[in-house]
């Protein structure tokens, strides 16, 4: 039903085909954009379609034909959504690549500092543990950034949570293959090599003391021999810990990622509203 204004131009209320089109577009955009951003874009599309329908009505078309042609001329909802998300993603990819580069730089700096302090004998066991935790953080962050960049580039409907799961699984694989047991030396791992070198150093220190004891060293060497005897079992036994650490970090990254996306959306909407006449 049409209403007339003082200017005698027909005013088209939202109906049928236009509402359906806006619904489709909203569904496509909801994969990545915030509610505020989607509503703003839909308002602009709605205004455009109304103008298109009004123009065609003035040319003498009936309402049904005017709506159909206006929607056709605008383009399919999926194509329009893809174009919108492509420009959004291009910006996001640039930002995430910068974050990735920053994280990589921080990782290199961290390793450099740890190696330097270790060579000076300034890092004890606790320091090395913190080094492992921080390494886990960086690996999880890099994996998360890679997953979200991939998802943004493909504009694929991959839920945000799945990138967290992928990040945690990557973390577990990293810990399994490169840190715990299955890295070179016939099944002994990087950690095992560290334990062996530490044990030898402790033995030297203990033997130089008047009343030295080798209990801690014996425990270390027992753990090492178990790891060498059953590397897969030892790796599997670390699974709950590695998965827990990985999932915790992945959950944290997902939360931060979602928080930044919401903040970015809110800031964009506030900036545009500031220009309202």
């Amino acid at each position: 039903m049409l209403r007339r204004t003082e200017s005698s131009r027909p005013v088209v209320p939202p109906d049928g085909r236009v509402s359906h089109y806006l619904g489709q577009l909203e569904q496509e955009l909801s994969r990545q954009l915030s509610k505020a951003e989607i509503q703003e874009r839909l308002a602009e599309v709605d205004s455009h379609l109304r103008d298109g329908i009004e123009g065609r009505l003035e040319l003498g078309l009936d309402l049904n034909s005017a709506e159909r042609e206006a929607v056709q001329a605008f383009g399919s909802a999926s194509a329009v959504a893809l174009a919108i998300l492509h420009t959004v993603n291009a910006r996001l990819i640039a930002l995430r690549l910068r974050l990735l580069a920053t994280a990589y730089g921080a990782l290199c700096a961290h390793f450099g500092v740890v190696l330097l302090l270790s060579s000076l004998g300034l890092l004890k066991e606790a320091g090395r543990s913190w080094g492992v935790i921080l390494l886990a953080f960086y690996v999880g962050l890099l994996t998360k950034l890679a997953c979200t960049s991939f998802r943004a580039r493909r504009a694929a409907p991959v839920p945000l949570l799945s990138t967290g799961v992928i990040a945690s699984l990557s973390l577990w694989v990293f810990f399994g293959f490169f840190w715990l047991n299955l890295w070179n030396y016939g099944g002994t791992g990087f950690q095992t090599r560290l334990i062996v070198s530490d044990s030898v150093r402790h033995m030297k220190e203990e033997l130089t003391r008047p009343q030295g004891h080798l209990t801690a060293t014996e425990d270390n060497l027992r753990a090492v021999s178990q790891a060498i005897a059953d590397p897969v079992g030892n790796w599997a036994s670390q699974l709950p810990w590695a998965l827990g650490v990985g999932l915790s970090f992945a959950g944290l990254f997902t939360l931060v990622d979602g928080g930044f996306a919401a903040l970015g959306g809110a800031l964009n909407v506030r900036k545009r509203r500031a220009s309202v006449v």
Partner: protein, 98 residues
């Protein structure tokens, strides 16, 4: 799009209509694809947008050129004129000298 806005502020539908009319329908892209490009130009500072209230209808977003946009448009016009002149020269009958 910058060229279409050179004639004055316009909303998305009007921009599409100007492009189509000025080009005598030689340029007729999907109207929906204009908006991602408009938003990119807005982010780059070439154009600014404001929501204008309308009587009896929802607000309408209107775009206009900024000074940076006018500068970019002038630059693009020069580049295009040079390019078009070059292509025309090559395509002119007997231009190759063969």
């Amino acid at each position: 799009m910058l060229g279409a806005l050179d004639g004055g502020a316009a909303h998305g539908y009007e921009i599409a209509r100007r492009i189509k009319a000025t080009s005598e329908e030689a340029l007729a892209v999907g109207e929906g694809l204009l908006y991602p490009a408009l938003h990119s130009l807005e982010r780059d500072g070439m154009i600014v947008a404001e929501w204008v209230p309308q009587e009896g209808k929802p607000n309408r977003k209107v775009y206009r050129l900024t000074d940076d946009g006018r500068g970019a448009l002038a630059k693009k016009r020069k580049e295009w004129a040079r390019f078009a002149a070059g292509v025309s020269a090559v395509l002119r009958p007997g231009a190759s000298g063969a």
